[in-house]
């Protein structure tokens, strides 16, 4: 006979404010097999867990029910409690009387209490049929895949490699560096972005533990934590490993037809190109869609001028399959496309530019070599208007969130402009200044006090072109006045949004995204870098907009998580999976056909002495315990450990019985 203990949690007043917990405990004591039932303020707390351990020892319990919150919250906690008390960790059932009762039935305490009693009783019925389960172990492929070569991916790769594990870093562009490589200076210290980024990029290329795959994309993912199998497409670079990065081919390439996306389309880009001078690897690639040779069959100048014969027009895309134990997703962001803003000229006024374009203009390695000039006539500027919250905090554009970095980078850009051109005057239209961060508020204050940037609280209603000037009309809501500013250049503070194709990418891993397309973390507070897919972690702006220090911190956090997985000898796997009773299996292959994970194998096996039969067998390391096979099996030969038919049916039976002697 089972010896059951029932532990009813108050959860502060979360449960006890609605449910009469002592009545639930008293009812539990009346149930067959229940040797002890107690209620306590916080069952999950240390004294709460000790109450359970003491009760197990005093009453010689062999299984328990915890009436508290969702098993998702604390099942693991109580499994550990059982283990500490010397019991099999799977001999605990949780009755969720918080989410399923007190939080949803606060209007009727009497009925809520009865429901709590019933749920507890059902769990008692289930735990009575619980069986001892043994933890399983699966091998771990101790190699990490980092997707995205921005600062997040770089940091994650370096940290994992530093712990001694192998890393493959996949970047879809021809160089790592990401968005940070496009920036001129960084707030709030005004140190040069490239100067702090490039050493890390070089470190990646020199680290023996890191394999760098640039100009490559992940195309297919299967498997699970410890054993991901990933297909990676290495796009043809048309330049092979003999390249020494001298850059002659780029200089001599006559094809200047395309615009450089890296430079915000403000300057030309050759058909053979490196993204920027400090590119890692410093190997150019040929864009076959614009290259004259690939379009017309004539040219081949790059091949002719190359001193090492590194240009190879015959290279093909290559598909490789690699195994990984864990994955860090750091795919970054795009900036909001402001062409949806009619009041700012639908993106058609040349001298209304995005913040990222401004970064390229003021960068010494940018298309104008650091001269801030108007894209329309290449003239220098005097009055510049900055407009905040473009595609951020804007319900009408379905971008109600704050992009977090725009207030800061706008202040930075206004300060840099003043540094470069003391004659200029900057105006900033803002809604609120959000400068929450170490030395951030001081930074914005400095822009206003030391650099004379004029901050106007209000929005711009219209930008007109008048002559060769821009007339910016807006409101200063603090003085209540309408303002008109004659500007040479308008810089928009574009918000951050998920990369194009983020949704499709998330489906490779079955990750979930929020309504905007940012990837969901497992828990907004307590598991901010984990995803619902174990072994897959997120870092940087693909999860939500954030600044460089937060991104780097998050990347290091993912590395810690990955290393924690790799530090284990083997992966502990939940034994809550399907099992086949081969004596009753008819070998009809229905389970084999319906299994979404291909976790069933059909075998000819001796099931009785001298009787070989065609029967199903579960591949333990592949099974996810979804239970589809259990539902599909006609002869009921498949069962799910931890959720056996016996357990479920006795729960159902209990559910249909009235509450007795309450």
């Amino acid at each position: 006979m089972a010896r059951i203990g029932v532990f009813v949690c108050h959860c502060g007043t979360n449960i006890s404010g609605v449910v009469d917990v002592s009545r639930v405990a008293k009812y539990a004591e009346s149930l067959p097999g229940v040797k002890v039932a107690v209620d306590y303020k916080f069952m999950c707390s240390d004294p709460g867990q000790n109450t359970i351990i003491d009760a197990i020892k005093t009453h010689n319990l062999d299984r328990i029910v915890v009436s508290a919150c969702s098993p998702r919250m604390h099942e693991l906690t109580f499994r550990n409690t059982l283990e500490r008390a010397g019991l099999n960790p799977y001999m605990v059932e949780m009755a969720n009387i918080r989410e399923h009762v007190s939080w949803v039935h606060s209007d009727n305490k009497e009925l809520a209490t009865e429901k709590a009693m019933k749920l507890m009783e059902m769990s008692v019925s289930k735990v009575r049929r619980s069986e001892v389960l043994t933890k399983m172990f699966a091998p771990i492929e101790k190699r990490a895949l980092v997707i995205g070569g921005g600062i997040a991916g770089i940091q994650a790769a370096l940290d994992i490699a530093a712990a001694g594990y192998k890393v493959v870093l996949v970047e879809k562009e021809s160089s790592i560096g990401g968005r940070m490589a496009q920036l001129d200076k960084t707030f709030p210290t005004l140190d040069c972005s490239a100067c702090i980024l490039t050493p890390k990029m070089v470190a990646v290329s020199q680290d023996k533990n890191i394999t760098l795959l640039t100009y490559a994309e992940v195309t297919e993912v299967s498997g699970f934590i410890g054993q991901f199998e990933v297909k990676i497409k290495k796009k043809a670079k048309s330049v092979n490993s003999k390249c020494i990065g001298c850059g002659v081919c780029v200089t001599k390439c006559p094809n200047k037809k395309s615009l450089s996306d890296f430079d915000g389309r403000l300057g030309p880009r050759k058909a053979i190109y490196t993204l920027f001078p400090q590119a890692v690897p410093n190997v150019p690639v040929i864009d076959r869609e614009t290259c004259t040779f690939f379009l017309t069959g004539k040219c081949k100048i790059c091949e002719k001028v190359c001193p090492t014969s590194a240009v190879d027009y015959t290279q093909q895309d290559e598909l490789i399959t690699e195994k990984f134990g864990a994955v860090v997703v750091a795919t970054g962001f795009d900036i909001y496309d402001h062409s949806s803003y009619g009041e700012y000229g639908y993106g058609e006024i040349k001298d209304v530019i995005s913040s990222l374009q401004f970064e390229r203009l003021i960068s010494s390695s940018g298309p104008t070599e650091g001269h801030v000039v108007r894209p329309s006539d290449q003239k220098e500027v005097k009055n510049v208007v900055f407009i905040q919250c473009v595609g951020s905090r804007d319900e009408s554009k379905k971008r109600p969130y704050c992009s977090r970095v725009c207030c800061m980078y706008t202040a930075k850009q206004a300060m840099l402009l003043k540094d470069h051109y003391p004659e200029t005057q900057s105006y900033v239209f803002y809604i609120d200044i959000r400068a929450a961060g170490k030395n951030y508020e001081e930074f914005v204050q400095r822009a206003q006090n030391d650099y004379g940037v004029v901050y106007l609280r209000g929005r711009v209603s219209k930008i007109y072109e008048r002559g060769n000037k821009l007339l910016v009309k807006g409101a200063d809501t603090l003085s209540g006045a309408q303002v008109e500013i004659e500007a040479d250049l308008v810089v928009l503070a574009n918000g951050l949004e998920p990369r194009k194709g983020a949704k499709e990418f998330s489906q490779l891993f079955h990750m979930s995204s929020d309504q905007y397309g940012f990837y969901n973390e497992l828990h907004p507070k307590l598991a901010p870098v984990e995803t619902a897919i174990s072994g897959v972690f997120v870092a940087g702006c693909c999860q939500s907009p954030k600044d460089i220090p937060d991104t780097v911190a998050m990347a290091s956090a993912t590395a810690a998580k990955v290393c924690a997985i790799f530090a284990k000898e083997k992966m502990e796997v939940e034994p809550l999976i399907a099992g086949v009773n081969q004596l009753t299996c008819s070998g009809c292959e229905t389970c084999y056909n319906v299994c979404p994970y291909s976790a069933i194998e059909m075998k000819d096996k001796e099931v009785k002495r001298g009787e070989v039969r065609h029967v199903a067998e579960v591949l333990e390391s592949v099974c996810k315990g979804c239970g589809v096979c259990v539902g599909a099996c006609y002869s009921k030969a498949v069962d799910l450990k931890g959720f056996s038919e016996r357990q479920i049916l006795s729960q159902v039976e209990t559910a249909t019985m009235p509450i007795t002697n309450s």
Binding site: L583, T584, S586, G587, E589, P596, A632, Y634, S635, L649
Partner: protein, 279 residues
């Protein structure tokens, strides 16, 4: 016709192409036939085929799994053989299907032709290894008129009708035992841990048994009427099996036994499956 049938089987047995042949023989009176199991090439003279050969011999295939078999099949019985092959109960190479042309079979109790034979489209068997005789198929497509009629009733009327029917059930399990696709080594109805079904014979539990059985044979039942014919208390199980066939056709465009390459609708998984019933 019988002669031709006997010769084919004789040859198969003599050449050791099969270990056993399953056919029909005359039973205790003129109107009765029963399954015959022949192992000896010289013993084939007792095999016959006539309009009283009502049994679906596909039933016995799962009971002789280890042997090579020849089986006499009416056109309709071949569907059963195909379903069982799809469910890997034996391989196609291990069965020689001897199709017999059929004019329709009679219920000896009433002397009337079975209702399923009226618009039979496989009087001339299809997909057999050998065929004996020639039959004339009905031009009329399979209809579900009585099911359509029954579906018009209100839930209450339907419940009353079936409650009355299942009150009669004596849970002899004849319907299950003659069903060729009810081949589970251990039926859910026999289980005690857990007890899916109370072993008492009462109307509610009887109903549960029949409903679960119908769920289990959905998309696999070839509507052969073996269960209906075997029932000693005349429960119109045909009405249920025809409903299954109708639903399989309408919901999944599936016809049991028709296509060897298509699996039954509930035995497949596809990420794009319609989930219209899931909120």
């Amino acid at each position: 016709m019988d002669k031709e049938l006997q010769e084919i089987i004789k040859k198969l047995l003599a050449e050791k192409k099969v270990d056993w042949a399953i056919g029909y023989e005359k039973a205790y009176d003129e109107l009765s036939t029963r399954p015959a199991f022949v192992q000896d090439a010289n013993d084939t003279a007792r095999l016959i085929f006539n309009k009283y050969c009502i049994n679906n011999l596909g039933l016995y295939l799962t009971k002789f799994k280890k042997n090579k078999l020849a089986v006499v099949c009416k056109g309709c019985d071949i569907a059963t053989v195909f379903e069982l092959i799809k469910e890997k109960q034996f391989s196609r190479e291990n069965v020689v299907v001897i199709g017999v042309a059929c004019e329709g079979v009679l219920d000896k109790k009433t002397g009337k032709q079975l209702e399923k034979c009226e618009n039979c489209r496989v009087k001339q068997p299809k997909g057999a290894d050998f065929t004996v005789g020639t039959g004339k198929d009905s031009a009329a497509p399979k209809n579900f008129l009585d099911v359509v009629e029954f579906e018009k009733k209100s839930s209450k009327e339907k419940a009353e009708f079936w409650n009355r029917q299942f009150e009669k059930c004596i849970r002899c399990y004849a319907c299950r035992n003659v069903c060729p696709v009810c081949y589970c080594p251990d039926c859910f109805a026999n289980r005690t841990m857990p007890e899916y079904l109370n072993k008492n014979v009462d109307a509610e539990e009887n109903k549960l048994f029949h409903m679960i059985r119908m769920q289990h044979v959905f998309g696999r039942c070839t509507d052969c009427k073996a269960c209906d014919t075997a029932c000693p208390v005349n429960i119109p199980l045909t009405l249920l099996t025809k409903k299954l066939a109708k639903d399989a056709k309408e919901l999944f465009n599936y016809e049991s036994g028709a296509d060897m390459d298509v699996l039954p609708p509930l035995s497949t998984y596809n990420e794009a499956d319609s989930e219209s019933d899931i909120l």
